[in-house]
Subunit: 717 residues, 2 copies
């Protein structure tokens, strides 16, 4: 049955089924997996023993790993979920768990390890950091895989008596909402090797077993014991492949340890792992259409690395290979997957180069992948990068003007962090995905600067399955909930001809000509963009739900994508979403969406564009705040390469996003100073002064007065 | 100036010089480095700022790494020392420290990471587990390197603004005692780039700097910042090479990032890292003498991996390469160094295979290295092992009858853990190394089963520098302090023709014929071994130092190596060693060594050998207890590959090692039961019984009597 879900949930659903205990500790972006399993343990859903999963939250990921290890040694099937530093804290236990041949499964929403800076975003540095532990490793490309291959990880761990790390791209897959066909529990349970489950339980520590584990060994027998485990690793690729075939039967998919996509007689092949494979498939498809002999090896079973299965699918005609790694291992000649491929194909007459992409969720576009195939066709460049301009060590590939029409309607929503637009976009996906035969995809670009940052929702709707793990470009519809963003961000630079642009604004139509930036007006004129305004704040205030604009925007967007019976549908959604909030909230929201439809204004007046000569020298912080950080070159970051930044940068962020600003009323002031404590953005600043000292602060002296200063209208909320 | 020292101390001496703070947490076999730095901080020795090093012991290695990280961010040169799981706990901080370009140095006595079993012994699994962190990595081959390259690590970290992990083989190098020429502090200090030190201090967090560090970054600039650090890594190999040249000037050595040893026109080359390189050099030397075109690449600078420096030394004639890795990465096609070499030489017409050796301090002999060259000369075998017999996955190379005479006098001492023979052997090394022009080397095989296990001291004395990091074979002298070992271990199987065999025994000469095992007697007869006995226990008891036999054995051994004025020298050593124990102890020991010389008995009676047909089926635990675990095949360990062992094994270990056994005297017994609590080896076992229950234990019932049972003479102490 089709389901609208994200990668974390799709994975947690199968993790629940195969676990007796889940020891957890939350870390972005893996937390929703743990949450889902915890929630499921309070529903009727049961695991393979027709029982509930015991969920234990520990003090850290080290504790979660230790609990998992202990549970396994006591004969329980155990699971955990983590990412980044969390996974690093599990490493000591991972070596033990693998050495002890325990069927643990760790599901990882792969995330950047903090280096010069922390980053909550996605790459494979965390997964690669554990590749020496002896865990088997399975990579999912998309949300559907997270469900299907998540199951393969559990089934294979049991059958092959080795632990698995199953991973998918943090945020890009973990948080992407997609329409997928989850496998039924009953079908999966038929695949469990219960004899192996029993065998596992019997060889673990219990009062009957009369065995001990985790002892110390000397130099005499340690090496032999390590090599005695070879056969388990030798057998695992076949076990995984067999389970993939079983899953293929259930789903119509074609999973293999390595999948090949492309021309049968390809000469130029890309090897990659994770979500980028879906992007590469789109490019390969396009280039094949143009007669190019190109292909892609999609790595699913990364450990044990099976040269046999790789050679089974790699075209014999292959002459050149580019390996893409989503990490940077400083000091190494090349990244992990690249090193593996060099070694696996050492005796073949194939030229191999390696490159990096997508670090810390850097958007990896079809154009970037195209530049890799272009490089393979022209002159080989080793140790390359895509997605950035490296003007220092000159490792980046040139970028070409390459666009793919993926045949989906695209919508971009610029929301103000915590204004509800992410929930709205998820709700739209659910309504469209469940209410029609269409496929949907949404991906939200979060800002790690938390609430108050900008959030960009990337929505796609299509009559075909959408596997396009990159931001929406050429949108049909752009929505912005905060008019100040018009001056900050380039929101409609790539809007489609005759696209729809909706601005939530308190400005009247007649004011817009004077208000809109010339650049925006020019695009609207040139591309015949249909401009609409709505004053959602005013409506929300009027119906008594001040500040809650999400349902208002939702009905407008659904209307623009011509969803049938939109009022009825959103009314239903309101009833569901606010069922615990009482009738008052429900009715107010229903009123609001009615008002919304009435108050949406199409701006038909001709906008006047004044030619501007803009030549302002901006520093990198201005660029970052303008969301143009992606355009910064490596040279721009050189002074900050070790994560050292000047102080006092926050004052330039999130400016002018509030509709209100506090005011100091001197006659009311009793100099308690609490106003300054309450306001988190230092809009109100008390200054301790002394007349005797000409107003210079003299903290600690008894003779002082407060002076309350209100800064510019900077308050965010 | 020559010094008798071990790898840990040699390294700690330079670590002290270049550190302002050392944050420590003890872990075998790295602890003596931390201890040495702590001790030095209470002496007059000063660091590069003419100051003492601040030593901070933390709650774990995670805390030690965090303290180091914090100290660096505050502008202090910081160091730590660790191994194995300790190093794993530092990984999160290591990524940060590298990303922040901080000149940390971690000195590692490389040790096995616990998998199916814990092991305190040495291999490179811990170092390899951190190869993705961005730390630069420098490998020392022997004790001398630990001093010289330890300095290179600190100097390069400062100059190149990147952290270093400097490592050498745990136990094999960390605990090997050697005669080396340490560099003078004043010579090393001239090499410090103080401008870079100032630059480092100025860019760190302090009240003047007005900078912030360790922030969060989004997907916009993270990738560019990572690539902005490329140039630091690109420059580092030259910086390291330059410092190696400086050290070469001071020491007459020839360090390079990669050293080549062998034929200029070699076709078959081994690539390796760590102590095994010294063994390989001996074999290469021997094979070159036989006209074979063989060579060795000794890796010093492992990260950043510099293909340039590798190609500078690799003979152009190379056709085949075997890469030796001292680790097993289960699930990988091959081990880390092998993968690197495959990638580094991907465009060369060289056949490359990889293999494993020396896991968990498995002794790696010249014969094993010979088998690698033999394999290269015959038929290539990939993914091979040496040092074990793998009869399951058949990966091990055949072993040949290959012996090298390294031109040193060899001594083996079998001691009873905690009986002082390790100190004795170190003292012998000091006396011979400092008192003569001879070079010395000692390596003690510890048993991780702690005190009461057997300890084997491997001593060598030669007029040439001894770089032979493997156990003594063909010893000139064998000493055993416990006669029971004659029945347990094969101690003189490889003793030299006319070698000396000294047994500490209470048996008289006339009893020996009946007492000695036939196998031992046969070797003594066949090889004309000169057999001596001494009753050291009796002498020690007589002079009032019951149980303290170490000086007695020391004087005897020194006598057998014909050390001049041996009584005088040992008297001096006694005065030094027991200076805090008072005159009584000193005089008793002096008396003891006099008695020792008088009571040493040469056994000249002909020993009768009875032919035995021994065909006892022994299990693996018998073999392990007989110190023949090294001979066990992989198939023998298959049932125990996940670290699961039957309970109740300890009772078979350390049996019959005590000269005394407690006795229950029924008429003295008041049934207090404390005898059973006091004896740690359960020699005295009380049984709670009841007459009413026919002697079956009835714990918890009031009507009971104690029965005290004394077991066999098993007590160890």
């Amino acid at each position: 049955m089709y389901k609208i879900t994200d990668g974390n949930t799709a994975c947690a659903d199968v993790a629940y089924l195969f676990s007796e205990i889940a020891s957890i500790y939350p870390i972005t972006p893996s937390s929703p997996m743990a949450t889902t399993v915890d929630v499921l343990s309070h529903t009727d859903k049961t695991n393979l023993f027709n029982d509930k999963v015991k969920v234990v939250e520990m003090q850290s990921e080290a504790g979660a790993a230790g609990t998992m290890h202990g549970a396994l040694l006591a004969g329980s099937l155990a699971t955990t979920f983590t990412a980044s530093q969390g996974l690093l804290l599990m490493i000591p236990n991972m070596y033990k768990i693998a050495g002890e041949c325990l069927p643990a499964v760790i599901h990882v929403a792969a995330r950047t390890i903090a280096t010069h800076a922390l980053s909550i975003f996605g790459d494979h540095s965390d997964v690669y950091a554990t590749r020496a532990t002896g865990f088997c490793m399975l990579a999912s490309t998309n949300v559907e895989d997270a469900n299907y291959l998540g199951a393969v990880a559990h089934l294979s761990a049991i059958k092959g008596s080795l632990p698995f790390l199953h991973f998918f791209d943090g945020f890009r897959t973990s948080h992407e909402v997609d329409k997928i066909n989850e496998i039924e529990d009953k079908d999966l349970l038929k695949l469990v090797d219960y004899d192996k489950v029993n065998e596992f339980k019997e060889r673990m520590l219990n009062v009957n077993s009369n065995v001990q584990k985790g002892m110390a060994e000397n130099e005499d027998i340690y090496f032999q014991s390590v090599e005695a485990r070879n056969s388990l690793y030798n057998e695992m690729p076949d076990i995984v492949n067999n389970y993939m075939q079983e899953i293929n039967k259930l789903t119509g998919k074609d999973y293999k340890p390595f999948n090949y996509y492309g021309a049968k007689d390809a000469t130029n092949v890309v090897v990659a792992m994770g979500s980028v494979c879906d992007t590469a498939k789109l490019v390969v498809s396009d280039l094949m259409g143009k007669g190019l002999k190109v292909g892609l090896i999609e790595v699913h079973l990364y450990r044990p690395f099976s040269v046999k299965y790789l050679l089974e699918v790699l075209p014999k005609t292959t002459k050149k290979i580019a390996v893409l790694d989503r990490t940077k291992e400083a000091g190494s000649m090349g990244e992990p997957l690249y090193l593996d491929i060099c070694s696996a194909l050492k005796n073949k007459d194939i030229k191999i180069v390696g490159g990096r992409y997508g670090l810390s969720s850097k958007n990896t576009t079809p154009a970037q992948i195209y530049s890799v195939y272009k490089m393979l066709a022209k002159e080989l460049k080793d140790n390359f990068t895509i997605g950035i301009e490296d003007d220092v060590t000159n490792l980046s590939l040139p970028i070409y003007d390459y666009h793919l029409d993926i045949g989906a309607k695209g919508i971009k929503i610029f929301g103000f962090g915590s204004d509800g637009m992410v929930s709205t976009s998820k709700d739209i996906m659910k309504i469209v995905g469940e209410g029609t035969d269409n496929f949907v995809q949404s991906y939200n670009q979060y800002d790690s600067k938390k609430s108050g940052g900008v959030t960009i929702c990337n929505l796609r709707i299509s009559d075909k399955k959408i596997n396009a793990p990159f931001y929406v470009t050429d949108p049909d519809i752009v929505v912005v909930t905060k008019e100040e963003y018009l001056f900050k961000f380039d929101m409609i630079d790539d809007i489609k001809e005759k696209g729809i642009f909706v601005i939530n604004t308190i400005k009247g139509v007649d004011e817009l000509n004077g208000y809109l930036p010339n650049k925006v007006k020019k695009i609207i004129n040139d591309r015949h963009v249909r401009l609409y305004t709505i004053d959602a704040e005013k409506i929300a205030t009027k119906v008594g739900i001040k500040g809650k604009i999400s349902k208002i925007m939702e009905v407008i967007i659904l209307n623009f994508i011509n969803f049938p019976n939109v009022l009825e549908v959103v009314n239903h959604s309101i009833e569901k979403q606010f069922s615990t909030k009482g009738d008052e909230v429900i009715n107010a929201n229903k009123k609001a969406i009615l008002e919304a439809m009435d108050n949406l204004v199409e701006v038909k007046t001709k906008l006047d564009v004044v030619e501007e000569k803009v030549n302002i020298k901006r520093n990198i912080f201005d660029e970052i705040n303008a969301r143009r950080g992606d355009e910064l070159k490596v040279s721009d970051l050189m002074p900050f390469k070790d994560g050292t930044f000047p102080c006092g940068l926050a004052k330039n962020e999130k400016r002018k996003t509030s509709n209100m600003v506090p005011k100091w009323v001197s006659e009311n002031c009793i100099q308690c100073g609490q106003c300054a404590i309450v306001c988190p953005h230092a809009v109100i600043r008390p200054i301790v002064s002394s007349d005797k000292n000409n107003g210079v602060p003299m903290i600690g002296k008894p003779e002082y007065n407060f002076e309350i200063v209100v800064s510019e209208a900077d308050c965010t909320g």
